[in-house]
């Protein structure tokens, strides 16, 4: 049994319709504090739509979202302070330097100057580059771009971090380093909600939710999922879960 006060994200009957099309179809789940929560699903399953609603970037058609016990609908401003968000599409100022991007986002979040400076040198050290000043963000390799995006999302030290496909387009080594960073954050008791297409990455999650056509069809730890669909790996389990869901839908 999950304890209520343990849940930092609490979603109930969340629905999003675009016109007649239902992108997110009545999903409910809880995310515990300090958990790495993975969102799995084929293209168009509704992962991005769900995350954007939880962050307060998109208004739900119906349903209830609580983040840290605060209703996103009632006090979006309070929720914003607690969350960091990295969108699926790379969205920093590519014409500016990485340093300038961090300065800017730090500034609009009201982060103190020396705090920003600390985070900049930390990132430079992590990426093993001498400076973040003299390069254009557009010219960075994808792996570095995503790390910069993460650093920008972390500037105001949020408790909950949303990462929408942070490793797509990143090489294997870069992916591993990114996940090491996710683990480091999780170790600092931060809650992380991440979407991915990579099953090896899904293995690293504490809990995964499989989405199909806007619905969450299963939600459990990677091990229980594998057991449930009697598969040796998560890839097979995922495919079986989707197939079973399709059959169930056809029967109805």
């Amino acid at each position: 049994m999950e304890m209520i006060d343990d849940a930092v994200i609490n979603i109930e009957n969340l629905v999003k319709k675009f016109g007649k099309f239902t992108a997110v179809n009545n999903i409910s789940f809880k995310v515990r504090k300090g958990e790495v929560f993975g969102f799995l699903g084929a293209n168009g399953a509704g992962k991005t739509t769900a995350i954007r609603m939880i962050c307060g970037l998109l208004e739900p058609t119906s349903g209830d979202i609580q983040v840290s016990g605060i209703s996103v609908k009632k006090s979006p401003e309070k929720v914003k302070q607690k969350i960091g968000y990295m969108s699926q599409k790379f969205s920093l100022y590519t014409d500016l330097s990485p340093e300038r991007n961090m300065d800017f986002f730090g500034d609009i979040y009201g982060v103190a100057k020396d705090e920003i400076k600390k985070k900049k040198s930390f990132l430079a050290q992590q990426l093993d580059v001498p400076s973040l000043k003299s390069i254009k963000t557009a010219d960075l390799p994808m792996g570095f771009k995503q790390r910069l995006g993460l650093a920008c999302a972390l500037l105001h030290d949020p408790d909950i971090i949303f990462l929408d496909e942070p490793t797509s387009g990143v090489d294997p080594l870069g992916r591993r380093e990114f996940w090491e960073e996710i683990y480091r954050l999780s170790g600092m008791d931060k809650t992380i909600m991440v979407t991915t297409h990579f099953m090896d990455e899904a293995e690293y999650c504490d809990t995964i939710a499989i989405m199909n056509f806007g619905r969450v069809i299963d939600i459990a730890s990677p091990d229980s999922i594998k057991k449930k669909y009697s598969s040796a790996n998560l890839n097979d389990a995922f495919i079986r879960a989707i197939e079973m869901d399709r059959k169930k839908m056809e029967d109805n």
């Binding site: 790379f90 969205s91 500016l96 800017f104 986002f105 609009i108 920008c152």
Partner: protein
């Protein structure tokens, strides 16, 4: 924090993108040169027919004066007026009525009748302006410059030097500045929406007014530079004077730029792509300014409904201001009403924008 950060970032964008910056300065100048050249061509070789019913010394003197100007050549083409206009053999007909000299001598106001080929309306306006200019010059020479007693619509009375640049430099300045400033702000915010950076701004605790001022202030400075550059080019390339105070001109240019930038911000609240922003900003500034500001077409001659619509065209007010300051030497006070209108527009545009952004950022 917030506001200053946005301003600094915006300046970095501006200076990083030096190609756009160059276009912003080169475009107005090339427009002015092309416009100036095209107008110059149109103004030469105007075929005018003079029907002189008065046959007095004075009326003949007027004919000679028109013939002597470099713009007109007098023809004696006869026939159907419409056909002559269509074949471009004739562009205008001036009729001097019986009693012209008598009226003029007795200090009454005689009337002359002008029919102008209206098929090319730009040209028609210029022709009319030139005929008015010559007639006024004629009458003021006669009266020692104190009065202008001949009745013609004195719409371009201040352009007695017969310089076409006097007509298009103020108008083009009004057109270019509203277009450029509306484009600058609408595109920069639409770009942030496209890139997704606006989502990150939305998630941050910045206020709507900080976002808006953070965009307006840098571009206000940039558009002032562009505006000054445009006016200075008008003065040096085309010899247009600035008869009013420079300081007033700068101040009112500042307010006009603010109006345009605010309008651009308003547009950016309505669109989500740069392309849509560009399209709307262009159409919403270019067309009304060309047709309904009094730049090319005279407002007084328009149907009432168009005149009423013209009240909400900012360029209409700035045109009075800049013509007044460049050509007439108006004072700050004389133009206060028009400036107040521009300030009002800015407040309304910014007010609506802040409300819309607030709803957007704080949802």
């Amino acid at each position: 924090m917030g506001l200053v950060g946005i301003i600094i970032k915006e300046f970095k964008h501006i200076f990083r993108d030096y190609r756009t910056l160059m276009v912003l300065f080169v475009m107005p100048i090339s427009q002015m040169i092309i416009f100036g050249y095209a107008m110059d061509l149109q103004i030469k070789n105007i075929n005018i027919k003079i029907t002189d019913y008065d046959k007095s010394t004075l009326s003949r003197e007027l004919s000679t004066k028109i013939d002597g100007s470099s713009f007109f050549s007098i023809t004696s083409e006869d026939g159907d007026l419409n056909e002559l206009f269509q074949q471009r053999l004739l562009h205008a007909v001036l009729t001097i009525p019986v009693g012209f000299a008598g009226d003029l001598n007795s200090r009454a106001s005689p009337e002359v009748d002008v029919i102008i080929d209206g098929s090319d309306s730009t040209r028609a306006v210029i022709i009319r302006q030139y005929i008015s200019g010559i007639i006024m010059e004629f009458s003021s020479e006669l009266r020692g410059g104190d009065e202008l007693p001949i009745n013609i619509v004195p719409s371009y009375a201040y352009n007695a030097e017969l310089n076409s640049a006097f007509f298009f430099v103020p108008g083009l300045t009004a057109l270019i500045m509203i277009m450029v400033s509306a484009l600058l702000t609408s595109i920069t915010i639409a770009r942030e929406k496209e890139q997704g950076t606006f989502d990150l701004i939305k998630l941050s605790p910045v206020h709507a007014y900080e976002v808006i001022l953070g965009k307006v202030i840098p571009y206000l400075i940039l558009s002032m530079f562009i505006g000054i550059f445009v006016i200075v080019s008008g003065v040096f390339l085309f010899g247009v004077p600035i008869r009013g105070s420079y300081l007033t001109l700068l101040l009112y240019l500042f307010i006009y730029c603010l109006t345009g930038l605010s309008f651009g911000i308003l547009i950016s609240t309505l669109v989500s792509t740069q392309q849509a922003a560009m399209l709307i900003a262009m159409i919403a500034t270019l067309l009304p300014t060309l047709f309904l500001s009094g730049f090319i077409f005279q407002l007084e001659a328009m149907p009432k409904i168009l005149q009423i619509i013209s009240w909400v065209i900012p360029a209409r007010y700035f045109l009075v201001i800049i013509r007044g300051l460049m050509l007439k030497g108006n004072t700050q006070g004389e133009l206060l009403l028009y400036t107040s209108m521009l300030i009002l527009f800015s407040i309304v545009f910014l007010g609506i924008s802040i409300r819309r952004f607030k709803a957007y950022l704080e949802s």
